[in-house]
């Protein structure tokens, strides 16, 4: 016990004691240290000189994944800084199959299926597919095509993206958006050519005989065929022979502009035989003919009318049933060169033989200064016109109507007439219940 007032003895800073370390621990520690130093040395050797003269170490390194063989290195030059991204099948119609890199056979394609590098898409007769790449580029694959997604890589540091697809026997259209990062590109590889695209709309066909045709509808494309490289500009077409030779670059006619009917026009007809719509377009050239397509879908896979060789800038369409239709037109030169289609427009046909329904609410009697008024209200088809006892009544957007008949007396009735846009008429009569 230390008494008050007495000085405390100062404790030493370090309390030296004899510590005995077991000899086995010391040995294990030394062996571990040597192993670490040796591993560091081997790693540095492999990384620095490639281990050309150290076959054993090379194999050892390969085994542990430290170093890859030269061939592997060439195949994946920047694999350590590359991110792989995905594409998606946004539209599938008809017979479309996909073979993933891992699988051996083609399986039925599904909408919204994710596509990776090395995946193949095959369309058969009547089959269509649309692939949306992560950066917004779209690839439309037409029937009887085989497309392989070759590359979908992004440099982790520079964010430059490289997408490439291999076309075997194919018919495709690609819309490539302006890249967000300068240097990014979309490449289409055919058996005999390579097309580098930064921002363009193109169509590429590869025939069974391995001839290719490239059409550029907007933007420009750098085309490499063998050692030759050409810039193919907007509204130009180029044929590439199977011997890897560029044929003459030809001009394409520009797309016509649709003139009418206005987009999203609705036509009403009472009978199918009455149905008649005039589709019109404009173009400055006079020496060309036109091809028109009318389809039931915006991808123009479900075609209901196709007419070619039209010399007029308009056509009368008849016999279409109720439904929504999409239409577009392309120009064809006397030499048979077909340009891009116009943007499409939409119209709707309604063949309506059904008279509009009339549902009347209970009649509301209002007594005013000894006289009785009757409030007639009800519901009919939206956009139908309504008459109550020969008086026109305004309906709201939902087809509801309300009208007050003044000074009604016992025995009076109400007659409601509703006429729809086509002229179908419905009449409803009801007695006014006055006691």
């Amino acid at each position: 016990m230390i008494k008050k007032g007495m000085k405390r003895l100062k404790k030493p800073m370090i309390d030296w004691k004899m510590v005995r370390i077991p000899r086995i621990m010391v040995r294990v520690f030394i062996i571990f240290l040597m192993a670490v130093v040796l591993a560091a040395f081997i790693t540095s050797l492999l990384k620095n000189n490639g281990g050309e003269h150290l076959t054993f170490l090379k194999k050892l390194g390969s085994f542990f994944g430290i170093q890859k063989s030269r061939i592997e290195k060439q195949e994946e030059p920047d694999s350590n800084v590359m991110d792989i991204y995905f594409a998606r099948l946004v539209y599938v119609k008809g017979d479309v199959t996909v073979k993933t890199k891992k699988d051996l056979r083609f399986e039925k394609a599904e909408k919204d299926q994710i596509l990776n590098e090395g995946d193949s898409i095959r369309t058969f007769s009547g089959g269509y597919a649309e692939v949306l790449f992560d950066e917004g580029n779209r690839l439309t694959i037409k029937p009887d095509s085989l497309v392989v997604i070759h590359d979908m890589k992004e440099n982790r540091l520079t964010k430059i993206r490289k997408s490439s697809i291999n076309l075997l026997e194919s018919d495709v259209e690609a819309v490539v958006r302006r890249p967000k990062i300068e240097g990014s590109e979309f490449v289409i590889i055919t058996p005999t050519a390579l097309a580098k695209i930064s921002e363009a709309k193109v169509a590429v066909q590869v025939s069974k005989g391995q001839d290719s045709k490239l059409k550029v509808f907007s933007g420009a494309v750098n085309l490499q065929v063998g050692d030759e490289s050409v810039e193919v500009e907007r509204n130009q077409s180029v044929d590439i022979s199977k011997e890897s030779k560029i044929e003459k670059i030809k001009d394409l006619p520009s797309a016509p502009k649709l003139a009418g009917p206005a987009n999203l026009t609705e036509f009403f007809f009472k009978n199918l035989t009455d149905m008649k719509v005039v589709l019109q377009w404009g173009n400055t050239r006079t020496d060309i003919t036109y091809r028109i397509q009318v389809a039931m879908d915006p991808y123009f896979t479900d075609l209901v009318i196709v007419r070619t060789g039209l010399s007029e800038k308009g056509v009368v369409v008849q016999g279409l049933r109720s439904g929504i239709y999409y239409w577009r037109v392309s120009s064809i030169t006397p030499e048979g060169m077909e340009g891009d289609f116009s943007d499409y427009s939409v119209f709707k046909i309604t063949i309506d033989q059904t008279p509009p329904d009339i549902v009347l609410d209970d009649v509301l009697l209002l007594k005013v200064a000894g006289k009785v008024n009757a409030q007639i209200s009800g519901q009919t088809e939206p956009d139908a016109s309504v008459m109550i006892n020969d008086n026109p009544v305004i309906c709201d957007k939902t087809g509801r109507f309300k009208y007050v008949l003044s000074q009604v007396s016992s025995g009076d009735g109400v007659t409601v007439v509703a006429i729809d846009k086509v002229g179908n008429r419905n009449i409803l009569k009801k007695a006014i219940p006055i006691q």
Binding site: G136, P298, T398
Partner: protein, 265 residues
């Protein structure tokens, strides 16, 4: 004696002046502090406290337009439109070159469907600030409402040229393209870009839905418009767009239900 008196008087005045200056400096500091605090309270949603502080600031600094503008913002948030309008106007009276107050007032007028008044106000601003992206954007909105779609497109394009990638300007240009029934592909691209920047913006969702409608891709149109309406059920323009699409695709019952639902709100 008189010289002494003069000396003392001068000394006294000097003291008075210096005291006044220091006192007024203290007042300035307090006003500045309260102005900052009011701003913080306002952005924190404590509108009542912020309002009181701004009123105090205005009492002590009645010639400064900023507190008037900020108080206008508070009244606008509280839905007291007349008061908001009065304060924005006061801010502009004090400084006609006060761009923010001008734009705030124009937005308020547009919300009150006073398109022509907003248009005039923004055009006046253009004399002083011809390169203001916000003014061009506002004028574009006015032109859409006035039915001059091509002029609206020019204004939105100019706004984008000046300020670059602003999602709101992208959205507005996309909407104008859609209304013109031209450049629908470009509209789709712009609208998607805007939505990518602000995925939870109901107005942007509405525009994308409307673009899809104009392109005849109705399932996507309904999907985006439905999302937009779920976010902002009180927004009549979104409801009206969805009603139009339902009508077009023949789903009249859904259209009618939407109208009825809107009438009950």
């Amino acid at each position: 004696m008189s010289s002494d008196f003069k000396k003392y008087a001068a000394l006294f005045l000097l003291c008075l002046l210096s005291t006044g200056c220091s006192l007024s400096g203290m007042g300035d500091e307090k006003v500045d502090r309260l102005f900052t605090e009011a701003g913080q309270l306002s952005s924190g949603g404590q509108l009542l406290q912020a309002e009181q502080k701004y009123i105090w600031v205005i009492q002590h600094r009645p010639m400064n337009p900023r507190p008037y503008n900020n108080l206008g913002n508070i009244y606008s948030k509280k839905g007291e439109i007349d008061k908001a309008r009065m304060h924005y106007k006061k801010a502009l009276e004090l400084n006609s070159g006060y761009l923010i107050a001008r734009i705030n007032l124009a937005v308020l007028l547009l919300r009150q469907e006073e398109t022509e008044n907003a248009f005039r106000l923004l055009q006046e601003g253009m004399k002083e600030y011809p390169e203001s992206a916000e003014l061009h954007n506002g004028l574009g909105i006015c032109e859409v409402r006035r039915g001059n779609i091509q002029k609206a497109i020019q204004h939105f394009r100019k706004a984008i040229d000046i300020q670059g990638s602003n999602p709101m300007f992208y959205n507005n240009l996309a909407y104008a393209y859609t209304e013109s029934n031209e450049f629908l592909n470009e509209a789709l691209k712009l609208s998607k870009d805007a939505l990518k920047a602000e995925p939870q913006n109901a107005i942007f969702l509405d525009t994308l839905g409307w673009v899809y409608y104009k392109k005849g891709i109705f399932d996507q149109s309904v999907e985006y418009l439905r999302k937009a309406l779920d976010m902002k059920p009180g927004e009549d323009s979104i409801r009206s767009h969805l009603v139009t699409v339902y009508r077009w695709i023949g789903e009249d019952e859904k259209a009618v239900n939407l109208i009825k639902e809107g009438a009950h709100m």
